[in-house]
């Protein structure tokens, strides 16, 4: 149930990013904070399913090499999962750096596959801008998702208690 809602949220982000939001300027891929959040809050098997489906949709809609988004989200999910075992993931600075690194990493992958040797000269300004913006806003988005998650869990528990059925 909760995963379905996060999937719908991801889908909404994709739709917004492919229609009204332009990712050419300061705005970065908003699915990254969602993937990080799913990695931090859901078990591997459940979270990865949503991440893979969202990546697949992005790949279908984008002109990128097929599987690029899927791979990026997949590796972000696994990396964050691994890091969460070693670091305090609740720390805001850690979250900032994490989101920033993920956004930069995504650009790095695009750049590496797209331009190769001219990596450093291509689109430096938007990449840096988006990374900085991600560092600044990433923890805020994670906090929002966290608050949503807490309410969602409470609602689900209430439903389970009231109806006496396992919703998840």
């Amino acid at each position: 149930m909760a995963l379905l809602l996060y999937f719908v949220l991801g889908l909404s982000i994709i739709v917004a990013q492919t229609t009204i939001l332009r990712l050419d300027g300061i705005l970065y891929d908003l699915l990254i904070p969602l993937v990080v959040f799913l990695s931090l809050n859901f078990p591997k098997r459940k979270g990865i399913l949503v991440v893979v489906i969202l990546g697949l949709i992005m790949d279908i809609l984008s002109g990128a090499i097929f599987g690029l988004y899927l791979s990026i989200y997949f590796w972000i999910f696994l990396s964050v999962k691994g890091l969460s075992k070693c670091f305090d993931v609740g720390d805001t600075i850690f979250q900032s750096v994490l989101i920033g690194v993920c956004v930069f990493g995504q650009h790095f992958m695009f750049c590496a596959l797209w331009k190769g040797p001219q990596l450093l000269t291509v689109r430096v300004v938007p990449v840096l801008l988006q990374t900085v913006f991600a560092v600044l806003t990433g923890p805020g988005i994670l906090m929002l998702l966290g608050a949503l998650h807490i309410r969602l869990q409470a609602a689900i528990r209430r439903l389970e208690r009231n109806r006496g059925i396992a919703i998840r």
Binding site: I14, Q17, T18, T19, R22, L23, D24, D29, M58, L61, S62, G63, A64, Y69, H107, F110, C111, W114, K115, V122, R123, P126
Partner: protein
């Protein structure tokens, strides 16, 4: 001797007569203001004034405040009407612009001898790295992979993925795009490739080739994707490196890719 009733009647009549006489006498003489008059005036008029002022105040409140409320409501209503009129105006303007765009498309349609299908852009690429758009026509309408897509300005790109009701179009400004093209004036041939910016690179133009800024670049038709003679863009930058076989040329496409809305897919 007289009954009580008769005495009472006579008394009333007498009183009326005295009253009339006194009134007649009073009417003939001007009234002098006595101290009683002054006292009465001094006591009563302020009260009157107070009442009158209160009434006036109430009337003013009624006239102004409530009137203002009404005026405010009317103002709000008028504002709403203005907003509605603005929306209407915007809609008419939008319709007019759409009409102009469609008229241009019709002109292009009449210019191009091939069978073409109008389509609308319904989605953009989610990343800034790749330049593709999704259009609302797919295999259902006969669109298939490799078909050329044009706009009133010139070439837009070609279909790289066709689905039942939608198709993905790779724009000519994407780095993966390449068009066999030639300079309309001198027929110098080269390949127009997408670049990082909104411009394209015109590659493999020989050093000796006679080209200048502003020359129009058209499709050569040799790539099997785009029909011959479709406008690509105008040469915007030329530089001749000290060594090498070719000139470095940039082409500014005629199509404004930031404002893509209606397109034409060349079906044949």
């Amino acid at each position: 001797m007289f009954s009580k009733r008769l005495v009472r009647i006579l008394g009333v009549v007498l009183f009326i007569l005295i009253n009339i006489v006194l009134l007649s006498i009073s009417a003939k003489h001007t009234h002098r203001h006595t101290i009683i008059d002054r006292l009465v005036i001094a006591g009563a008029v302020p009260l009157q004034e107070c009442v009158i002022n209160t009434m006036r105040f109430c009337r003013n409140i009624w006239r102004h405040y409530f009137y203002l409320v009404e005026a405010r409501e009317e103002c709000d209503r008028i504002k709403g009407m203005i907003a509605k009129a603005e929306i209407e105006k915007s809609r008419y303007l939008e319709s007019e612009l759409a009409c102009q765009r469609l008229r241009k498309l019709l002109e292009v349609k009449s210019e191009v001898s091939h069978r073409i299908l109008p389509a609308q852009v319904v989605g953009l690429d989610p990343s800034g790295w790749f330049k593709t758009v999704i259009i609302n026509k797919g295999t259902k309408e006969g669109v298939s992979k490799g078909m050329a897509v044009i706009a009133p300005g010139g070439i837009v790109g070609h279909v790289v993925g066709a689905y039942y009701r939608y198709a993905k179009v790779l724009l000519i400004i994407d780095r993966n795009s390449a068009i066999d093209a030639l300079v309309q004036r001198t027929r110098s041939r080269g390949i127009v490739e997408g670049d990082t910016s909104e411009n394209c690179r015109f590659k493999y133009i020989a050093r000796k080739a006679d080209i200048k800024i502003g020359d129009i670049v058209i499709s050569s038709g040799l790539d099997g994707l785009f029909p011959k003679g479709l406008r690509v863009g105008a040469i915007s930058e030329i530089s001749v490196p000290p060594s090498g076989l070719f000139q470095e040329v940039r082409v500014r496409p005629f199509v404004d890719f930031t404002k893509l809305e209606e397109l034409l897919v060349i079906l044949e």
